[in-house]
């Protein structure tokens, strides 16, 4: 009894992890499904065909490629701008700094439907209503990724010992050398994490995208559209592949970290 009581928290935590993973298991399983009818929600039979021909459902791969292009561009822009902002917030003291801090936090604290609808209101009132598509989606994605980048990079910068930079300066490194040889390599994991976060936020966004995409179809929009009709099992292939890719990245990062600290 005492043994159970001491491990109760761990036991509950494992149950919660199970809750987090239950749908993933379903997604993986369904990626091998061979549905009997178009509107099938049950597992009818095992097949490799979905993995062999992921592009079979019309428009699926176009949607994935649109999402990839938007995601990569949004990641590059948001990570660059956000990293600069994080440096400003942590390494510089200036008037209005706490106001800037709040300002950067606000997009994170606004419901997506409000962010999406306000951008739509802007695009419509400035005459861009007919030109919604790739670029308006990109603009929106950079906007909501920015805050997350700033917060992530800021956390890394704050945890960094600034005496390392002072030491470099003491050893006659100029500001440029100090930045590229000391600061940047130390902050890099934070920037990488921010980029990864941006990409997954962008790739996954539906609510804001749907309001500002016009006729452009991203992957989540494709999933939404097919959820109203029939769900091709290939959607689960993409979901599983994304999950495995993320797992490889995360585990690889963890292994590299353990090797370095050993």
């Amino acid at each position: 009894m005492r043994w159970i009581r001491q491990r109760l928290v761990v036991f509950v935590a494992l149950l919660v992890l199970l809750y987090l993973f239950a749908p993933i298991v379903v997604v993986m399983l369904m990626s091998f499904n061979e549905p009997k009818s178009k509107l099938s929600y049950t597992f009818d039979g095992f097949t490799w065909a979905n993995w062999a021909h992921p592009c079979r459902p019309y428009g699926l791969c176009d949607a994935v490629s649109t999402s990839l292009r938007i995601g990569l561009l949004a990641t590059v822009i948001a990570t660059a701008l956000g990293t600069l902002m994080a440096f400003a917030m942590v390494r510089h003291r200036f008037r209005g700094r706490s106001a800037a801090n709040l300002f950067i936090f606000l997009p994170m604290a606004s419901p997506e439907i409000v962010l999406g609808s306000s951008l739509l209101a802007l695009f419509v009132s400035s005459g861009f209503g007919g030109r919604l598509g790739f670029w308006t989606v990109l603009i929106a994605h950079v906007m909501f990724c920015l805050s997350f980048v700033v917060v992530t990079v800021k956390a890394r910068l704050t945890g960094m010992d600034s005496r390392l930079e002072q030491a470099a300066m003491d050893l006659y490194a100029n500001e440029w050398q100090t930045f590229w040889r000391v600061t940047f390599p130390l902050v890099f994991p934070g920037i990488l994490a921010a980029a990864l976060l941006s990409f997954s936020l962008s790739f996954d966004d539906f609510i804001i995208t749907n309001l500002n995409a016009g006729t452009t179809v991203t992957f989540p929009m494709f999933v939404w559209g097919s959820a109203q009709r029939d769900i091709p099992p290939q959607i689960n292939v993409v979901g599983t592949a994304m999950f495995l890719l993320a797992l490889v990245l995360v585990l690889g990062g963890e292994l590299a970290r353990r090797r370095r600290t050993r």
């Binding site: 419901p111 739509l120 917060v151 609510i207």
Partner: protein, 300 residues
Amino acid sequence: MSAVGQLGAAAAAPPAKVERSGRRFTGYLLLLPGGLWLLLFFVVPLVSLLAASLYDPNGSIEAGFKMTWHFQNFVDTMADYARPFGRSLWYSLLTTLFCLLLGYPLAYAIAMKAGRWKNLMLALVIAPFFTSFLIRTLSWKLLLSDNGFVVDALKWLHILGPDGRLLATTTAVVTGLTYNFLPFMVLPLYASLERIDPRLIEAGGDLFANPFTTFRTVTLPLSMPGVVAGTLLTFIPAAGDYINAQLLGTPRQRMIGNDIQRLFSAGAYPTAAALSVTLMAAIVVLVLLYVWRAGTEELV
């Protein structure tokens, strides 16, 4: 300090002054590109949304909308949409509560008990994120379906009546919402639990407090910043979400996001904008009240 101090420093050592003011300038320069982006695509849009909510509701996309300062929009939309509005807030409140109940033990176990498995467990919390939000919600549809094993198991345990169902009920919508926003609760909770000095908890034990008293008087109060940040990061997105209500519920469970989305795609901009502004205002008021009650100013 400020001006006078700097003048003094400048008199003593002119080069230092040049450098310092140069650095302060750098701060603004670094903020400029991102700040401009946020100004143009976050602040200006919010203003346009506010403006759109006051347009004449009789306009259309083709004919254009006229600015008539039509404040009546707010009264009309509230009369029509009070129910889904209240439902959204109620569902997100429930979601926040469940996320806290499930997320706290998980965050606690990762921060205090996981040892060298800490990073791996954290990665496991984030990993499901990478499979699309929509795909995961769709798979809940399958998990909760009428002949699925969850329903069967609950019937067997007599928790659910023989003709009971989960899909297309409030339970399904709140389950989905809780699921989707749980990581937003776990991560801030973990961050604040992780920061607690374990010696403080040991001290609680040394002073003859039982584990529960130690938790109530030491651990919980010290983790409050995480609780506040986590509840905000769960409540706010949940209030605006409509994916869970759409995929796991019926029109009887619809939330305000469903209506905003529907009205926008139907081109009823003034009504949709008024609803959106009302949602934002309600959230801002609730959050301010909550933060004021919780007394935590440090959020990020």
